[in-house]
């Protein structure tokens, strides 16, 4: 039986979702004055949506092929754009010659970084050019854009563009990039963001430990690989307003970036966020929107730009590779006394969402464990590689791999069951996070016990 969305959400069902205090019989007056309102339902509290089968409202367009993603849209007289990307991971751009490409039949316009009014953007630091002008910092940097009558003609024109480069020394390893004598990618240091957490007295606690374990864990770069490549159409309305249809996930932020780069008021820009064929964090900031807007202004025609799969891999953001050094002091019974963590996040060529990722990674790097003495130091570092940015979890998957691998090593060294050592250290109701947040609805131990029961952990290990 299929229950429609409207039935699942009908008013008399919604009334079943009571405020937890009300459900528990706490009088309204007491609720208002006596205690802080509870805004999160208790763990295990059933809400009316859980357990219901609902039909997704977008399922029918999807399964009949009628959902309109950006590349399914076209406008009369529309042009197609392709981007020539860097031949070097680090180089100064000496000269760009687009004359041969512009002579090709079907090529209508080209655009270089120097033609962009404010050629920088980024959610934390505006360190990224829309198209590289003075130098390229990784192979994915766009250098020249071409608008032509067809995608194929635009692609063909890229081969006729001549760019003269002066190659610069590279730095690809984030640890090497932290050295004073490493080649600098921006300014005079490759370390562009740091986070530190301190709690208690780590050194004294480590000195009291029965065992001090050390371990280094590293993770790799991961591309989101949305099935739909980044896609945008830009056009100018007769009243001088700019209209952009984009697969961009954060259209409000994107609009501010477009306004900044084009040096025009934000209220003259409309961005329409359409159905997106997979984002996963990789479509959280602008890519070619200003380029398409400027090519549309040059030509007076709508211009569409769709990333090739290669553009997607080399040019769109990825998940940060982390190098994580753990040092943990424990008692013989497995109780953790102190933990030191150093995180080096390889940010690639530009900042993007590195600051956010580094902050979340640092806070979560200790794990869901009660540890009184802590020190976390985290660094985001530029390298001449594909830019790392937002991806599901913002640093959480990387550190989870680090601290849980480290916990297994400690358990093995002490001869304690890996489940047992986690139960002895896990957060309780009211435990404090490394940054002092008091935690509610904590169900770590119950979750572990449930999983252990369901997989028969104790039966298998005893």
């Amino acid at each position: 039986m299929v229950i429609k969305v409207e039935d699942a959400l009908r008013a008399d069902r919604l009334t079943e979702l009571k405020h937890p205090d009300e459900a528990a019989g706490v009088p309204a007056v007491a609720r208002k004055e006596g205690r802080a309102p509870q805004i999160v339902p208790d763990a295990n509290q059933q809400t009316p949506a859980v357990g219901q089968r609902v039909t997704r409202p977008d399922s029918r367009p999807h399964i009949t092929g009628q959902t309109r993603y950006i590349d399914d849209l076209s406008f009369p007289n529309m042009l197609h754009m392709k981007i020539l990307r860097s031949e070097h991971a680090h180089a100064r751009i000496r000269a760009i010659d687009v004359s041969e490409a512009e002579k090709m039949p079907g090529v209508v316009a080209t655009l270089t970084g120097r033609e962009i009014p404010v050629n920088s953007f980024g959610p934390s630091y505006q360190d990224q050019p829309v198209l590289a002008d003075e130098k390229v910092r990784h192979m994915g940097d766009g250098v020249v854009a071409v608008a032509a009558e067809t995608e194929q003609l635009a692609q063909d024109a890229l081969a006729r563009i001549k760019v003269e480069y002066e190659p610069l020394p590279l730095v690809l390893d984030p640890l090497e990039a932290m050295n004073d004598d490493a080649p600098k990618i921006h300014g005079d240091s490759n370390i562009y963001a740091t986070k530190a957490i301190r709690k208690g007295d780590v050194e004294s606690a480590l000195a009291e430990a029965d065992l001090v374990m050390e371990g280094r864990f590293s993770t790799q770069m991961v591309e989101h690989v949305p099935m739909e490549p980044h896609a945008t159409i830009a056009m100018w309305e007769p009243d001088g307003r700019l209209k952009i249809l984009s697969s961009l996930g954060r259209i409000t932020l994107g609009r501010a970036d477009v306004a900044r780069t084009l040096d025009m008021p934000v209220n003259r820009i409309q961005i329409v966020g359409t159905i997106v064929g997979g984002n996963f964090g990789g479509k959280n900031e602008i890519t070619t929107e200003p380029v398409l807007a400027l090519l549309a202004r040059k030509t007076g025609r709508p211009v569409k730009g769709v990333f090739t799969r290669q553009d997607e891999f080399v040019s769109s953001t990825t998940r940060h590779p982390f190098i994580m050094d753990y040092r943990t002091g424990v008692r013989k019974d497995g109780r953790i006394l102190a933990r030191k963590v150093r995180i080096v996040a390889d940010g690639g060529a530009y900042c993007s969402w590195s600051e956010t990722t580094l902050g979340k990674g640092a806070i979560l790097s200790v794990g869901p464990y009660r540890i009184d003495h802590l020190e976390v130091k985290a660094y985001a570092v530029y390298t001449n590689k594909t830019t790392c940015g937002a991806m599901r979890g913002f640093g959480a998957p990387q550190v989870c791999f680090g601290y849980e691998s480290h916990m297994d090593d400690i358990a093995r060294e002490l001869g304690i069951d890996p489940l047992e050592i986690r139960l002895r250290n896990a957060f309780d109701e009211g435990s404090s996070s490394p940054t002092g947040q008091v935690l509610h609805s904590v169900a770590v131990k119950e979750s572990l016990e449930t999983v252990a029961h369901r997989v028969g952990w104790r039966e298998q290990t005893s």
Partner: protein, 159 residues
């Protein structure tokens, strides 16, 4: 060059450059945008269509190679008002999230069930192995195809 293909039961003709792929002709010339361009190298399966009943990556086949043949795209199955039984099953199981892989996935599932009405789970996985889903809906996609197969088998037993 002028190319005529029988698409979803109708003769369709377009004048295209010789290097035009079947996918480009379907999408750009015939307005059938159901098949998607995901990778352009035959890895992702978002462009899957049936040519004379066989599943094909339309991004790897030239339009000229499809001339005079029978092509079935997602638009040739059920429509918004009346889904095909296979599409109904995908809706029932909420198999898709972003939906970009859906047309190709459904076409590949149809290709399998047309030839093997009662496949094993391993056969379903094999038949869909050329269609990538990044929202990781595989489990519900396979469940939908298996349910379709079991209902089809039950019907043929009654008949």
């Amino acid at each position: 060059m002028e190319i005529t293909i029988r698409v979803n039961g109708q003769e369709r003709t377009a004048s295209v450059p010789p290097e035009t792929t079947l996918l480009t002709m379907l999408r750009a010339n015939l307005g059938l945008t159901g098949a998607k361009l995901g990778c352009d190298v035959g890895d992702c399966g978002a462009c899957s269509v049936l040519v004379d009943g066989e599943p094909v990556n339309a991004c790897l086949m030239l339009a000229a190679q499809a001339a005079g043949r029978d092509v079935l795209t997602i638009e040739g199955l059920g429509d918004f008002q009346e889904l095909s039984p296979l599409q109904e099953m995908f809706e029932l199981f909420s198999s898709f999230q972003c939906g970009f892989c859906a047309p190709g996935m459904i076409i590949s599932a149809k290709a399998l069930l047309d030839k093997t009405p009662n496949p094993t789970a391993a056969e379903v996985r094999e038949a869909l192995s050329g269609n990538l889903c990044r929202c990781t809906g595989y489990t519900k996609i396979i469940d939908a195809v298996m349910e379709m197969a079991s209902r089809g088998a039950a019907e043929s037993e009654r008949a």
